[in-house]
C-alpha cells in the first residue's frame, strides 16, 4: 500500500470525495493555496478562499449543507472555532432537531491543534470535548494516516455535522494508506492497535503513539497493556472500551486535552458505571494540565503526557494485590 503522511491522506480523501460527489466543496482561509492540487482539479467554484471571518464561513457551511451542498471547511486552528460556535453549536447541532427533522447538515470542519509548533494557547488548545458535549455534532480525532483518510471520507458522506481535529504533531507522520476510493473507516468504531490483558490504555490522536510506546516498555517488564485508539469521540465506541476494561480490570486514559470534563472523564465515568465489577484498581487519567499551553518549547513539551508517565501509572496500579489476586496477571514478572 502507498505510504502517505497525514497531510497527504487528508488531501487524498478530499480529492476522492470531490471527484465522487460534485456537491462536495472546500472553503476556508487560504484553502486554494494550501490545497492547490484541489483547486487545480476542481476549480475555484469548489475550492474557495474565504475572507477572514470564521463566523460566516461556518454559518455558510451550515446554510449550504441544509441546501444540498456538502461543504468541508478548514478553520485552521482549533481555537479559531470560538468564532464558529454559534454556527456549529446553535445552528448545525440544533436546527435539525428544532425543525422536527426537516433539515440535514452534511458538513465537515477541519482544524488543527496540539503541541509541536511552539505557538501557545491561542493556537494550541485541544477543545474537542466542548463539541462532544454539544448535542447534534459528531467528532473525530484520528491518529494514523489511514484513519485520517478513512474517517474523513466517511465524515464527508455522513449527513450530519462532523468535526475532524488534526493533532499537529501527526501532520507529517507517514503510514500505509489504501488507495481504494471506497476505503472508509466507520464513525463510532475504536481501533485496538495493541492487544493486551493486564491494563487498558485508552487514548486518541497523538497520545495513542505515547500509549503504544508505554505498552512496549511495559511489555519489557512483563506487563501486557491493551491500547485503544478511540478515533471517533462522538459517537463513542463504548463497547470497545467496556470490553477491554472488563478483560483487563485496569484503565488508564491518556490525552493531551486538559482533564476537567474532558474525554478521559467521560471514559472513566463509563467504566465506573458499566464495567464497575471488573475494575481492579482506581481509574487513572493522564491528561494535559488545566492551564493554557505556553509557547516556549519547555512549557509546551511539559504539557503533553509522556510514555514514562503512563508506564509509571501502570506500575503503581499493578502492585495492588488486594484485588489483583483475584485475577492472574498474565506474564507478570
Amino acid at each position: 500500500m502507498p505510504i502517505l503522511t497525514v497531510e497527504q491522506a487528508i488531501n487524498q480523501a478530499l480529492h476522492e470525495e470531490m471527484q465522487r460527489d460534485p456537491r462536495v466543496l472546500v472553503m476556508g482561509e487560504g484553502v486554494a493555496k494550501s490545497r492547490a492540487s484541489l483547486l487545480h482539479s476542481f476549480g475555484a467554484q469548489r475550492v474557495r478562499n474565504t475572507p477572514l471571518a470564521e463566523a460566516v464561513i461556518s454559518g455558510t457551511a451550515v446554510g449550504a449543507a441544509a441546501s444540498g451542498l456538502r461543504p468541508v471547511i478548514d478553520l485552521l486552528f482549533a481555537p479559531f472555532l470560538t468564532y464558529a460556535m454559534d454556527a456549529l453549536v446553535n445552528s448545525a447541532g440544533k436546527l435539525r432537531y428544532l425543525s422536527g427533522g426537516q433539515h440535514e447538515f452534511p458538513l465537515v470542519t477541519l482544524s488543527m491543534t496540539g503541541a509541536g509548533w511552539c505557538v501557545g494557547a491561542q493556537h494550541n488548545h485541544n477543545l474537542e470535548a466542548m463539541f462532544v458535549h454539544a448535542p447534534g455534532l459528531k467528532v473525530v480525532m484520528p491518529s494514523t494516516p489511514a484513519d485520517f483518510k478513512g474517517l474523513l471520507k466517511t465524515a464527508i458522506r455522513d449527513n450530519n455535522p462532523v468535526l475532524l481535529f488534526t493533532d499537529i504533531g501527526l501532520l507529517h507522520q507517514a503510514g500505509e494508506v489504501s488507495d481504494d476510493t471506497e476505503f472508509l473507516v466507520p464513525l463510532g468504531k475504536a481501533a485496538v492497535p495493541r492487544i493486551g490483558s493486564d491494563v487498558t490504555l485508552v487514548s486518541y490522536a497523538k497520545t495513542v503513539g505515547i500509549c503504544l510506546e508505554a505498552a512496549q516498555q511495559l511489555r519489557e517488564t512483563g506487563i501486557s497493556a491493551e491500547v485503544i485508539d478511540l478515533r471517533s469521540l462522538k459517537p463513542l465506541d463504548e463497547e470497545a472500551v467496556l470490553r477491554s476494561v472488563r478483560k483487563t480490570g485496569r484503565l488508564v486514559i491518556v490525552h493531551e486535552a486538559s482533564g476537567l470534563c474532558g474525554m478521559a472523564a467521560e471514559i472513566a465515568a463509563l467504566a465506573a458505571s458499566r464495567a464497575f465489577d471488573a475494575l481492579l484498581a482506581p481509574v487513572v487519567r493522564l491528561t494535559g494540565p488545566d492551564a493554557p499551553v505556553g509557547a516556549s518549547w519547555a512549557l509546551e513539551q511539559a504539557s503533553v503526557p509522556t510514555s514514562a508517565a503512563v508506564v509509571q501509572a501502570v506500575r503503581e496500579m499493578l502492585p495492588r494485590t488486594a484485588h489483583a489476586a483475584e485475577k492472574p496477571l498474565t506474564e507478570l514478572a
Binding site: 449543507a65 441544509a66 432537531y97 425543525s99 422536527g100 427533522g101
Partner: protein, 326 residues
C-alpha cells in the same frame, strides 16, 4: 374549502390579497397574545410590521428561499403557511410544522422554502450566504433568490459585516431585508447605534441599498420587486432597510412601560393595515362588503387554527432522541 383567500377577487387583485394577508397576520398574532394570557407560551409578534413581510414576500415566487428569525409569523403566513399548523407549533404540539420541537422561536417550513430559522440574533445572517451559495451552485431552482429577514438589533452583531462582505465578494443572489422596527427587545435602537441609519453600514460594502417606508406595503413591494429582479438578472446581493415600528411588546406579555408613547402614537397613526385599507378604499379597489367578507374569513381561519392547535396532541416524550441526527 372554497376560501376567499383563493377566491377570484383576491386573485385578480394582488393588492387586496396583500391586505387580506396582513389582516390574517394581525389576527393570528393578536390571538396568540390573548392565548398567552391563559398560559400559552409567549410570542414575539410583528404587529405593526406586517407590510414588510407582505410587501417583500409577495414579490417572490416558489423558486425563492426565505430565512427568518424569532419574529417569523408574518413571514410564514405571507409565504402561505397554514395558521393551524403554525399555531400548533407555537403551542408545542405534535401537529405543528416542527412537531412541537421549535415552539414559536425557530419555525422553519421547508416545503414553503422557509429554511433555517434561528432565534439567535444574527444567526440567519450567518446561514444566508450558504443557502444563496447552494442556489448559485445549482442546488435550487434556476434563478432563485434568497431573502434573509433580520432586525435592527441583529444589524449590530458583527455577523452582518461578515455576511455582507461575503455576499458581495462571492456575488450571491441574496436580498438582505432589515426590518428596522426601532426596538431591540427593551432597548430603543437609538441607544445602541450612533448613526440613525442601518443602510449606511451596508453602503460601505458597495452593494445597492434602499431605505423604504416599511409601513407602506406598496412601497415595500415596489422596492422588493426591483431588488429581486436585479438579483435575478445579475446574481448580486441587494439590501433593503424597512423603517417600521413594533407596536406590541418584545415578547408577550409586555407592559410597554419603557416605551416613548409619543413616538408610538406617531407610528400607530401610520398603521400599515389602516394605511393600505384606506388607500384601497380611496382608489375604489376595496368595497365595504369585500372588507367585511375578508374580516369574517380571517376570524374563521384563526378560530379554526386555535381549535386545531389546542386539540393537537403533545409530542411523545419517548421520542426525545428522534431527529437529533439524520
Amino acid at each position: 374549502m372554497n376560501t376567499l383567500s383563493n377566491s377570484p377577487l383576491l386573485e385578480r387583485q394582488p393588492r387586496l390579497h396583500g391586505l387580506y394577508t396582513m389582516m390574517l397576520i394581525r389576527a393570528y398574532e393578536e390571538r396568540l397574545a390573548l392565548l398567552q394570557q391563559n398560559g400559552a407560551p409567549g410570542t414575539c409578534t410583528s404587529v405593526g410590521q406586517e407590510a414588510c413581510a407582505v410587501g417583500v414576500i409577495s414579490t417572490l415566487d416558489w423558486r425563492d428561499r426565505i430565512i427568518t428569525n424569532h419574529r417569523s409569523a408574518a413571514h410564514l403566513l405571507a409565504r402561505g403557511a397554514d395558521p393551524q399548523r403554525l399555531m400548533a407549533e407555537v403551542l408545542g404540539r405534535a401537529d405543528g410544522y416542527c412537531g412541537g420541537h421549535s415552539g414559536s422561536l425557530h419555525i422553519s417550513v421547508r416545503e414553503l422554502g422557509v429554511v433555517l430559522t434561528s432565534t439567535i440574533v444574527g444567526g440567519g445572517l450567518s446561514l444566508a450566504p450558504g443557502v444563496a451559495l447552494a442556489q448559485r451552485m445549482g442546488q435550487g431552482e434556476e434563478g432563485g433568490v434568497v431573502v434573509v429577514f433580520f432586525g435592527d438589533g441583529a444589524a449590530c452583531e458583527g455577523i452582518l459585516h461578515e455576511s455582507l462582505n461575503l455576499a458581495v465578494q462571492w456575488q450571491l443572489p441574496l436580498l438582505f431585508v432589515c426590518e428596522n422596527n426601532q426596538w431591540q427587545a427593551y432597548v430603543h435602537r437609538l441607544e445602541t447605534m450612533a448613526d440613525d441609519a442601518i443602510y449606511r453600514w451596508a453602503c460601505g460594502h458597495g452593494l445597492e441599498t434602499q431605505r423604504i417606508d416599511g409601513n407602506d406595503v406598496d412601497a415595500v413591494s415596489a422596492a422588493a420587486r426591483q431588488s429581486v429582479a436585479a438579483i435575478r438578472a445579475d446574481g448580486r446581493p441587494r439590501f433593503l432597510e424597512l423603517l417600521t415600528y413594533r407596536q406590541r411588546g418584545h415578547l408577550e406579555p409586555d407592559d410597554l412601560a419603557y416605551v416613548d408613547h409619543a413616538e408610538r402614537e406617531r407610528w400607530l397613526k401610520r398603521d400599515p393595515l389602516v394605511l393600505m385599507r384606506e388607500r384601497l378604499r380611496a382608489e375604489g379597489v376595496l368595497q365595504d362588503n369585500d372588507l367585511a367578507a375578508m374580516q369574517q374569513q380571517v376570524s374563521q381561519r384563526i378560530d379554526a387554527a386555535q381549535n386545531f392547535a389546542e386539540s393537537s396532541a403533545w409530542p411523545d416524550p419517548q421520542q426525545l432522541l428522534q431527529h437529533v441526527y439524520a
